[in-house]
Amino acid sequence: MATDTEVDLTPRLKTDEMLINMGPQHPATHGVLRLILTLDGEIVRHTEPILGHLHRAQEWQGQNRTWFQYQALIDRVDYLSGMFTSWAMARAAEVVDGCEVPERAEYLRVMVSEMNRITSHLLWLGTYLIDLGAMFGFPFYPFREREKLLELFEEIAGQRMMFNYIRIGGVMRNPKDAWLSKLKKFTEEFPDRVDEYEAIVTENPIFLKRTKGVGILRKELGMDYGITGPSIRASGVNIDLRRTKPYSVYPKLKFDVPVNDRDGDTFDRYIFRIREMRQSNEIIKQCLDMLPQGEISGKKQIAGLRVKAGEGFAAVESPRGTLGCYIISNGSDRAYRIKWRNPSFCNLSILPELLKNHPIADVMAIFGSIDVILPDVDR
């Protein structure tokens, strides 16, 4: 038009951000996390995680159940590594109570929890491949080894997943010799199996494409958010409580803690878990050789189990990081306050930072790689 001297510079095509609601029911949110993603095309600009869809009031239960009852409950805090949750609370209660744990019990604890670390990582490996889209085939292989370990767990603790094996003051049951020899057989086979996984996964070009350079976690950022476990070790922070704050019989055992020398990406987090499985296998082997004879519990496992008054914090290195338990006891048969410090809860808080400016397909790759268990987040 003749009167229009100015040129309209505003873009003609208006683009808009799209909000997409992922979860609480979504095949890749590992349960019931809900993510509200703001997408620009396929690029994630903002993430709002909404938790608590599995909030089962574990801490409230801790105040309302006796110690003996609560021991059975806490396996459900982190169902993939129940040994560690039991152990964290047992350690905290032992620290407060001041009771001695027999050495045999300590060795058994280390053994079963390292087994549990392997099962946890194996399940992670399977589900992670599902997250990356290998829906059939590979995800089934880690489960094969996992089932073998679960059979061993079942034999020693009576349950496949909810063990209730590590108790305040010791462990529940003495393993039979046959069990130990079965475990030995497993430890001998296992490295070959890990080689097999690595052959399928680590050299798979599509897997490498999907994971390398994706979701880089800067060391400082990770420390700011209090990330622990393999996720931060893959980014070069040497924090493994088994070495940095040694507990139990770990100082007597020989094993490496693999630590990266640069900021880790998704692939590093994968490869460090694989390495950790190998180390755990070594630890089990050593424990089998060094297992002493003796008592297995320093405290009588009775319904009226009491913990002396006091407060204390103790932590163990779970497959996901520092799993801590803060106990305030008033000397009665139940806790005054139990606070869980869950690695998944803290690790998940970094998710919005990691997802920023990644395409939507990487949401799964990154979210899977930090290995979050939802009941561990929501309790």
Binding site: L19, P24, Q25, P27, H53, R56, A57, Q61, F140, R160
Partner: protein
Amino acid sequence: MAEGNVQASNEVPDELKDTVTLTSLEKMIEAMGDLLSPLVSPIANAARSNSVWPLTFGTSCCAIEMMSVGMSKFDISRFGSEVFRATPRQADMIITAGTITRKMAPALITLYEQLPEPKYVIAMGACTVTGGMFNDSYSVVQGVDRIIPVDIYLPGCPPRPEGILDALLKLQQKIRTESYSERKKKKYRQNAVRYVDYDTGRPLEDLIDEARYETALALDPLKSLQENK
């Protein structure tokens, strides 16, 4: 069946309901009514019972056992049920694997209502049967039958994978005894609003309001129940 527990007071208006279109086959069967039912029932039941596709719905510990049952050692695929569908529209059954909390309840109701008929529910694990170990927690629904009808109760914490297979076989038996026309008549009433409009394009600050909306949904069935009392 605990359908009585689901309140009708907050029924969804018709315009928000999904439309159900019948295939011509179904129209024919419906027109013939009970006459054709004895003929159709065996075919439909045999087909339905042998291809129960579960929804990938898992909240906690039981979900891991549900995964195990699909894996090599237990192999649910023998019974034709390894087709875990991610979307409720294509599934036949929900295995409520894991605790259902108050926050999760509206999502589960929505999922159940998104399943096309005929739909079945296996309440897996102590938590979904009665609330289980978390029975008296302030945030846990004391049994999933308080919000959706349940066909099979499968106790255990968590149940062994063999238990899931057993529950599946029991469900198959149950399906085989159904009558086609009876099943058609037994319609579940829609209660939850399906479309929680999270993404109306509002800015992120408004998410607060949206979350409040979701919360209201979570608690609404309860409030209305109290009012009725």
